[in-house]
């Protein structure tokens, strides 16, 4: 008990509380700007943490990243421009709700279930860290391959267009992921002698291009859509309790999937959101409603990505192995501040550990009031004329992509992908599937090639290791299910014809 009292004393310092509040506002703003991701919000905080006490330093990172992942939903719902890759999976759904006249419900879901998901993830971190860490350490490249493959298959599940076009988009994404030298062979591919292309195409500029820039281009081509009825923005939290009661199963499933994906090093909030959204559609009683502004998928995915954020800290704190790009930065800060990751953190520095837990919970609680304010401010863009908003978005995209590496090439990437995304959308190819391909491409290739190197070219370990075999069975079942279903339908029809 003494440890908890000490931990509370550590958190209830003026500087820590102020750090939480300021980084919360900062995270909300950065996350909501298209082109600035949660990872970037965290990276930009590092120089600031130099001047803070250890607990305050870690608090800024925890708070800012949680806020940024949530507020990435805001431009997604209001403008159909996801703020972070984690929001890309369900942007269309949230935007459809806004067009239906329920923007407050869409954003309320994002806020409420993100906060709940974050708390669920924190509880898993508090109660289950050691067993969860064991899961993380039982995943070798064979398991990662299946996981990444399953992730890729989400492309067809999520898309509302024809599955063939979704697969084409996804494959294009995989092609983009091939560019650069960061492949298993360490050989430059598709770089055409350009130094900039050596590093490959980063997912963030590509995402910003295909969503934000192409949206602006579309806006220039088409007449302004009918204004949403001018009215007061309704209560943001109303109805959330009912939804919580109504959709218990999707929410819990989202939490669990998020926690597990978060714990696995290398698979973060982005993947959690995709997998959860497509699982939600698979298990839903009304899958046909998905994509038309239906809350179910939003609930599951929102619950999932914030849960993964907290559980991503498990391998980071126990082994110094980052769960995602955000914790990769956080580990550096932990070392810098003398809170070295490792088992001793849980024993010798237990009070600091508990202080981190308390900060996680606090951050997810203050997310609700601050998020409501943020949503109210952001909702003003719905009333602003489109001709005023679109130039600002282009500006943000350019500034945001430049800021990542102070490299003009990223800005050109954004522009190129903007054109690309525009052409794709016009012809009915879902751009979200391409983003998924870019995000997952490296992981699929890396895990496949390294697995084969390790097994001297044998594919047997992909099926013989226990967890790999389960994942393989799931993947193959998911692959064959549509074939089986259509065969069954065809057989039934022919039976009916024969008897009739």
């Amino acid at each position: 008990m003494n440890v908890y009292v000490e931990a509370f004393a550590l958190v209830m310092q003026k500087d820590v509380l102020l750090a939480i509040l300021l980084s919360a506002i900062y995270g909300l703003v950065v996350g909501s700007l298209p082109g600035l991701s949660a990872t970037m919000a965290t990276a930009l905080l590092v120089p600031v943490t130099f001047y803070l006490s250890p607990i305050a330093a870690v608090a800024t990172i925890i708070t800012a990243s949680a806020m940024a992942i949530f507020s990435g939903d805001i431009p997604g719902a209001l403008l159909r421009i996801p703020g972070t890759p984690a929001s890309a999976a369900y942007t269309d759904e949230a935007y459809a709700m806004t067009r239906k006249g329920q923007p407050e419900l869409a954003l309320g879901i994002g806020l409420w279930f993100s906060a709940l998901g974050g708390i669920a993830g924190t509880l898993s971190l508090m109660l289950l860290a050691p067993p969860l860490a064991e899961i993380a350490l039982s995943f070798s490249t064979y398991e990662y391959f299946w996981l990444a493959f399953l992730g890729l298959m989400c492309a067809t599940l999520v898309a509302r267009s024809s599955p063939v076009k979704a697969i084409v988009s996804m494959l294009l994404g995989l092609l983009v992921a091939c560019v650069g030298i960061e492949n298993p062979a360490g050989t430059p591919r598709f770089t055409f002698g350009s130094t900039d292309l050596l590093g490959g195409i980063e997912p963030i500029p590509a995402l910003v291009g295909v969503f934000a820039v192409s949206e602006v281009m579309r806006a220039m081509m088409t007449a302004e859509p009918p204004k949403l009825p001018h009215r007061r923005f309704g209560s943001i939290l109303r109805g959330q309790l009912e939804l919580t009661k109504k959709y218990v199963a999707p929410q819990v499933r989202g939490n669990i999937v998020g926690i597990i994906i978060g714990v696995l090093p290398g698979a973060g909030a982005d993947m959690a959101a995709w997998v959860s959204y497509s699982m939600s559609k698979r298990f839903s009683k009304t899958p046909e409603k998905f994509g038309t502004g239906h809350p179910e998928g939003l609930i599951e995915a929102g619950a999932s990505n914030n849960a993964s954020l907290a559980s991503g800290w498990v391998p980071s704190l126990l082994f110094g192995i980052p769960g995602d790009t955000i914790t990769a930065i956080a580990i550096g800060v932990l070392y810098m501040k003398g809170l070295n990751p490792g088992p001793t953190l849980f024993t010798e520095r237990a009070s600091s550990m508990y202080a981190l837990y308390i900060i996680f919970i606090l951050a997810n609680i203050i997310m609700i009031p601050l998020g409501i304010i943020m949503i109210r401010i952001a909702s003003k863009v719905l009333r602003a004329p489109r001709s005023a908003i679109m130039p600002v978005i282009v500006l943000l995209c350019a500034v945001g992509s430049f800021a990542i590496g102070n490299n003009l090439f990223a800005v050109l990437t954004v522009a190129a992908f903007g054109v690309f995304g525009f052409v794709m959308e016009r012809n009915g190819y879902p751009v979200a599937a391409m983003v998924l391909g870019i995000v997952m491409g490296t992981m699929v290739e890396q895990s496949f090639v390294t697995s084969l190197i390790k097994s001297d070219g044998s594919i047997w370990p992909f099926f013989s290791r226990p967890i790999a075999s389960i994942l393989a069975a799931m993947t193959i079942a998911a692959l064959l299910w549509p074939v089986f279903a259509s065969l069954l339908g065809w057989w039934r029809r022919s039976q009916a014809q024969a008897s009739g």
Partner: protein, 331 residues
Amino acid sequence: MTTWTRRQTLAAGGAAGAAATLGLKTAAAQGAYPNRPVTIICPWGAGGGTDATARIIAAVMEKELKQPFNVVNRTGGSGVVGHSAIATAAPDGYTLGLMTVEISMMHWQGLTELKPDSYTPLALMNEDPPGVQVKGDSPYKTVKELADAIKATPHGKLKASGTGQGGIWHLALVGWLTAMGLKPDHVAWVPSNGAAPAMQDLAAGGLDIVTCSVPEARAIIEAGKARSLAVMAAERNPVFKDVPTLKEAMGIDYTTGAWRGMSGPKGLPKEIASQLTAAFKKVNESAEFREFMANRGFGVKWADADGFAKFMDEGNKAMGVAMKAAGLAKG
């Protein structure tokens, strides 16, 4: 008439003002360097180890030379973009950079024309030697036992990782194997996306050896999931006093490491360069820098401009030999 006069007065005033500023500028230029903020280019992303090192150096330099030192991350092209930016900056002392070991590797692979001698070396600040890590419950208790096992196993049976193909830790393995008289690919290299995923896969049983630096493996070693058998350095790591050097354990005098050092573009004026080297020496010896590096587990190393140039030259040649042996070099 009045208008004309006023215009004339304004013009005259402006000219006088311009002259004054100009005069001031020349005076300042003749005055002590630095008289305006200095940029430090970091070729790697914000939030990483090189970024953190650049920022602590900048923070102490700011106190030392009383001018802001701003760290700018110029990422992309696997470090090529940032290293090029350092080389092509104006040699006036207002753009410096934190170079990393990759500068002595990338040109062998034909990725860039830039070599260590394309710069004005100023100061070597850090070096982290690789360790030899095995799984926590591995049967090999000493590096000697592991080496014997490696020699006894068929070519390519054992697997090692730690970074991408042709990365610094890959070459560390190649160097060690060659020093033992084995083929550079006697232990197969499994490319990974950095040290952390490799350590994770080691613990998951997917790999036999990981040759990343000891600080990178520290947390997982402390968790008992991995053990470090030796370091490829001249001296032991103060944090892991029990881990012997390769020379102590098996008499092989092979050392290498990932390093970071400050440099400027070629042709930096001598006075400025020596002033900077002196300042970096103070940074290197400062309690602030030492404490920071100890916290992160990074090794502190010092060499002045000449020492750094010599260090890079030797490292560059050794890398060339190792990369050619491993078939990684072009031409």
